[in-house]
Amino acid sequence: MRVWHRWVQVWNGQELPWPMALVRLLLGAAMLFDFLTFLPLGMVEVVMLPADQGGVLPSEWKVPPPWWDWFGATPASAWGLYIGLLASSFLVMIGCFTRTAVVVLMLLSAQFAWMHGAGDRGIDTMMRNVLMILAFSGAGRGLSVDAWWRTGSLWGDGAFVPSWPRRLLLLQLVAMYFAAGVSKYAQQWWPWGGYTALWFIWNDWPVSAVAGQAWVDTTAALRFSQFATFITILWELTFPAMLWMWWAWRRGRPAWVRRLRPDLVYVALGAIFHLGIAVWLQLGIFPWAMLALYPAFLSGREWARIADAIRSKNLRGVVEAVRIGP
């Protein structure tokens, strides 16, 4: 009974809406930017139509994408899907008809994934997972057009929203990073492979932004990559420790967890990890969409304190706002 009671309490409670509002805004922006990259290249028909219509997708299907069943595999239907994706990601970003926009964006993105599975990566699945969570989160209660309609202020009135969606998102991030660590079965990630994984990834032509550059073939670059590989695997494998840190913070012991906030060290390492990916690899939206989820690592109260500190131009107050804790 005690375990059940704790489980119920984990998902009970309410909090200020800012973290999920920020996630909504940033994720919507990342997705909007991603879809906008199709326009200057004329990619819409290339990646949304079968080969016999001028695209790169299969013409023969066992189970064709329902979008094509409903609207046909024509340029008009491709543009319809594309405009739907653009419009819904824009509405998610600005928080207008938020819940509807979030659900529509998830479903349209799923249709796109159905037709172009080869071009749909893990980050797309992650974004749809987060959209599903956002649909229940009250993410339109702040920093949104919906909030402006309801309260007369874009910030909203700070009315509480359920805390479980943010906790579920954090659990999703813990699961993702840990699974990514455990799945790294290649020798190059481990001591007996010399921690050379990152160096080989730098040399992987399809994904690397630095392959072929002279500095990659220096011993200094190799040593740095070995250090980064070691930190990456250690960080991913120990990421579930975040769950303990959050629990320890709430409990108040051990005291050093509140004093040192080791969870924020993990968050900072994550941000560095994704920024490194943005610089060294060509993974498109991946690092930015992942960083868009990071506001969830701070609570609504922490974000409110940060906003207060910024408004009063007290930059030291920003650090203090986080130091106090959730």
Binding site: V8, E15, L41, A110, N129, Q172, A175, Q188, A321
Partner: protein, 226 residues
């Protein structure tokens, strides 16, 4: 924004809805937990013929043998195929009832980010064949041959040749991509009579290994029109 001293919302005594919500979320976490379980994907026997996979199996065989579990690379390969087939079947069976939901919502779990870095990464080269012979139109990482670069590095097209990079033969999606490249070539290079998409396996040598990288070799060539 609301004042930062807003009181923390202390959970009320759990309502009946709180219990129902906990049940629903428990179910969601369970289903996604099964999906996210970092189990090895099914390894096919033909995948073990890839040089990178062969190297990997040989190294694991050495490692296991040094730890006292003597097993040769061939036997280890067979065991891997057998065990991963069993794991994969069980995993698929457990998640089968939820597959339609995952498909329609596009949600799911699977996070093997660079689980197995390619130690012989492929480099794409596109040659144009005209009346005067062959010329390089595109080569990965070569700023002097960057025709179609914005397309080929776009995250919706790059994975197609990225996925083909470890195969011995071009996949169907890769062949469709090369067909599309040919339609673009007919517009941008009307003198061409054919293009050839070549995937070169490169062999980077670690800077402290004292070895000189071997010359790249052709993994496969796709000619359009044939």
């Amino acid at each position: 924004m609301s004042p930062s001293d807003a009181p923390t919302a202390v959970p009320d005594a759990p309502s009946a809805w709180a219990h129902w919500r906990a049940i629903i979320l428990g179910f969601v976490v369970l289903v996604h937990g099964i999906r996210v379980a970092p189990l090895p994907h099914k390894v096919h026997a033909h995948e073990l013929k890839d040089p990178v996979a062969k190297e990997e199996v040989a190294r694991w065989s050495e490692r296991l043998t040094s730890l006292g579990y003597t097993i040769g690379p061939k036997e280890l390969g067979e065991r891997v195929v057998e065990v991963t087939d069993g794991i994969s079947s069980t995993h698929r069976g457990l998640t089968a009832p939820f597959r339609p939901w995952f498909r329609w919502t596009g949600t799911g779990q699977g996070w093997a980010l660079f689980a197995n870095p390619d130690t012989h990464p492929s480099r794409l080269r596109i040659d144009g064949v005209g009346p005067d012979g062959k010329r390089v139109l595109f080569q990965s990482g070569d700023p002097e041959h960057a025709w179609l670069l914005p397309y080929l590095k776009h995250r919706r097209l790059r994975p197609i040749f990225d996925a083909a990079a470890v195969r011995r033969r071009p996949s169907a999606s890769y062949r469709r991509l090369v067909d599309w490249i040919w339609t673009r070539a007919q517009v941008d290079h009307p003198d061409l009579i054919r293009i050839e998409a070549v995937l070169l396996a490169t062999h980077p040598a670690l800077p402290d290994s004292g070895k000189t990288p071997r010359r790249p070799h052709v993994r496969h060539t796709t000619k359009v029109p044939k």
